[in-house]
């Protein structure tokens, strides 16, 4: 290693990869329902889309993508909940990988929930 810049480059490359282990004080938590119902409805590509999208956006340190069990509204799976500090949680339903991209873009990055995908829009 001949320069400090090389060291910085390795750190930058690796940081996202180990960030998953430092989830403690993250401000945003994205939880994907991954029970049998969720998986059957296609939660896996949604989960992967979130993981990849968050990493691409360089937000791995401030956003945790994790999974949970059945939330109880199986007919609306895949369900994704977004928890933000000091804000009400947002529940997205019938998610797809494409919708996930949009949520990352508008909600996670932009701070504005994508209302038409939320559970409120289904008139439950």
């Amino acid at each position: 290693m001949k320069s400090f810049e090389e060291l910085m480059a390795i750190k930058a490359k690796m940081q996202d990869k180990v960030a998953v282990r430092q989830a403690a004080d993250n401000t945003i938590r994205v939880v994907v329902g991954m029970a049998t119902c969720g998986i059957a409805a296609g939660a896996r590509p949604v989960l992967n889309a979130f993981v990849e999208g968050v990493n691409e956006a360089g937000m791995a340190e401030t956003v945790t993508v994790t999974q949970t069990g059945c939330i109880g509204i199986c007919q609306y799976e895949p369900v994704v909940e977004v928890f933000e500090k000091d804000k009400e949680k947002t529940t997205y339903v019938k998610m797809t990988a494409e919708k996930a991209q949009e949520v990352i873009e508008k909600h996670i990055k932009g701070g504005k929930p994508v209302t038409e995908y939320t559970i409120g829009a289904t008139k439950l």
Binding site: K11, R21, A23, L47, N48
Partner: protein
């Protein structure tokens, strides 16, 4: 794309409880479920909770699974990794009460971790010690870069001096002063040595650092080399630490490949490289002059100081010798500054200390706490207290060189100076907990047997004196003691302390002196009443059968290895005390509680 990391402990503790087999099984299961692209398995160093191994942590949830077996793996994969349902029955939740199941599973909330502050162990159990990139991601080698680019050697030494860091191997000598002396010694060749010859029975702090975060030690040694003007380092590590040696070797190879060791590091004119020397496991080689002479290829014996190694050390050149844990603190101090380091611990002993908890305690394992934490916090809150409802009797610190602190001193804050004042010492960090079933005379004897074995034999007070001490202790535990033996013990102990050549002999009588000071009544019970109150010393025990309770089942007579029990079927049996070897096999077998030892 990896969405989850499964960390499995690959430290010595968990390796012996089968963590390698777990990793293999997990790899298989992940493949079977097609998850190998999503879930990454990381073998790490010690998490600290060795009593509950093998240990597994799943991120990003931070779920802490303990005592995982191969049979649990399919369930963890199916339920947790595939469906996101935490396997509740395997989660370690001591002291955690949350409604949210995933939060309850979080590692940092448990009593065991809550009070800990991890500086030396910060990467242990977090990174893969065999991947230098993971260390760099955790700011690894940034301290070396900072030292080389922004600091002069004197500034490095001043920072370490200001931090108040004291040697974690036991002596507690200010590290910065050692470096200052070595810097001031004029020579064209100097050496940086790492003392990884951890010899106290039950201590494994240094092993865990080397196994969990070897690059931290390498980085610190390079910083030390820059500070004192050395271009060569030696790590003296026991051959009986094979995992530590292997990971250190991998780490050295990686560091060389990246140019973090070698010539012109970070484009500066600083060159540094490190060699490993395997020690054969002699306790005396933890003493710095014996260690140096052993590296040179000679028999491990200490020599008198001065000259100190900082003036005349390895191959006659100025040398610093620091302990593994001391080094593990250095990069953090350089990166965060001396004031940051002083924000933990006490005025006289800043920072944190790693302890290996052992003996009669629930959470056997490795903990790191700020100096000044009380024994009670470490034993009762972090360690989970004494198991089986027994009463806490004493805590032994400092290994064979330390002493026993009685229950009345349990609120002593732990730092270098308070422990010495209380008649013990910090030592390298072994902390052995004893309950009411421990005989303090027997404990003193145990440590004396160790030092008698390990004395190198160079100086007479240690070689001969410790043997005489042990003979007196044996006399007492055999039931032949006299009251004047206690005075003889004390007198001889003090001669050995003042006349021995090195710390091994100077501290060898400490276990006797401290037990005499705090548990004199037990010695008197052995001598005057001819009784061992804890029921340990065989020479003072006698086994008896209560004729009223004995049903004459003959079981005891059949298990007795010495043929000491006789009696007819359905009649009360008797023990022939001249034949009895006091093994206790009869008590274990008796279903009627008819046999007692007194």
């Amino acid at each position: 794309m990896i969405r989850s990391h499964v960390l499995i402990c690959g430290g010595t503790g968990c390796t012996s409880s089968g963590s390698a087999a777990l990793a293999n099984k997990l790899t298989e299961e992940l493949k079977a479920k097609g998850l190998e692209e999503e879930i990454k398995i990381v073998m790490t160093g010690c998490f600290g909770l060795c009593a509950l191994g093998p240990i597994m942590i799943v991120y990003p949830e931070g779920t802490f699974y303990s005592m995982v077996t191969e049979d649990d793996i399919p369930e963890i994969v199916e339920e947790h990794l595939l469906k996101g349902r935490i396997v509740d029955r395997l989660v370690y939740k001591d002291g955690v009460e949350h409604e949210d199941a995933s939060a309850a599973a979080s590692l940092s909330d448990t009593n065991f971790y809550k009070k800990q502050k991890r500086v030396a162990l910060r990467n242990c159990g977090v990174i893969n010690p065999e991947a230098i990139d993971e260390y760099i991601a955790m700011d690894g080698y940034f301290a070396l870069a900072k030292a080389l680019k922004e600091m002069t050697p004197d500034e490095v030494i001043q920072t370490i001096l200001d931090s108040g860091l004291r040697g974690r191997g036991g002596g507690g000598f200010p590290t910065g002063r050692k470096w200052m002396f070595a810097k001031a010694s004029v020579s064209d060749k100097k050496y940086v040595v790492c003392n990884a010859d951890e010899g106290d029975p039950g201590a494994f702090m240094d092993r865990s650092v080397l196994e969990g975060d070897p690059h931290a030690v390498i980085e610190a040694m390079a910083i030390a080399g820059y500070a004192i003007g050395a271009d060569e380092g030696w790590v003296y590590v026991r051959a009986e630490y094979p995992i530590a040696v292997k990971r250190l070797q991998i780490a050295l190879d990686e560091a060389r490949e990246y140019g973090l060791l070698g010539k012109n590091i970070f484009g500066s004119d600083f060159n540094f490289d490190i060699h490993i020397r395997l020690g054969a496991g002699a306790f005396v080689c933890g003493e710095e002059t014996a260690l140096l002479t052993s590296i040179e290829g000679n028999r491990g014996e200490p020599r008198s100081r001065p000259p100190f190694p900082a003036v005349k050390g390895l191959w006659g050149q100025p040398t610093i010798v620091n302990n593994v844990e001391t080094y593990a603190n250095i990069p953090q101090i350089i990166l965060n500054g001396s004031d940051w380091f002083k924000s933990f611990g006490t005025a006289g002993s800043p920072g944190t200390k790693v302890f290996a908890l052992g003996g009669k305690i629930k959470n056997t394992g490795l903990v790191e706490v700020p100096m000044g934490t009380t024994l009670r916090e470490v034993i009762e809150e972090i360690g989970g207290g004494v198991p089986n409802g027994k009463k806490f009797k004493a805590a032994q610190t400092g290994g064979p060189s330390g002493g026993c602190l009685p229950a009345s001193l349990i609120d002593t804050p732990i730092d270098f100076d308070t422990l010495i004042k209380a008649g013990s010492m910090m030592g390298s960090g072994g902390l052995i907990v004893m309950d009411e079933d421990t005989c303090m005379v027997d404990i003193a004897k145990f440590f004396l047997e160790f030092t008698v074995d390990e004395s190198c034999g160079k100086c007479a007070p240690c070689r001969i004196g410790t043997v005489r001490l042990l003979e007196i202790l044996n006399k007492i535990t055999d039931g032949n003691g006299e009251m004047e033996d206690l005075d003889k013990l004390e007198e001889l102990a003090n001669y050995i302390k003042s006349a021995s050549l090195c710390a091994l002999g100077q501290t060898a009588p400490n276990p006797i002196l401290s037990t005499l000071r705090f548990f004199r009544d037990e010695y008197i019970a052995h001598i005057v009443d001819k009784k061992c109150p804890a029921g340990v010393c065989k020479g003072l025990l006698s086994y008896e059968i209560d004729a009223d309770k004995c049903k004459g089942c003959t079981l005891c007579a059949r298990v007795c290895p010495a043929g000491a029990i006789s009696g007819k079927v359905k009649e009360a049996h008797v023990i022939d005390k001249t034949k009895c070897v006091k093994c206790g096999a009869c008590i274990e077998k008796c279903k009627f509680g008819a046999i007692s030892k007194k």
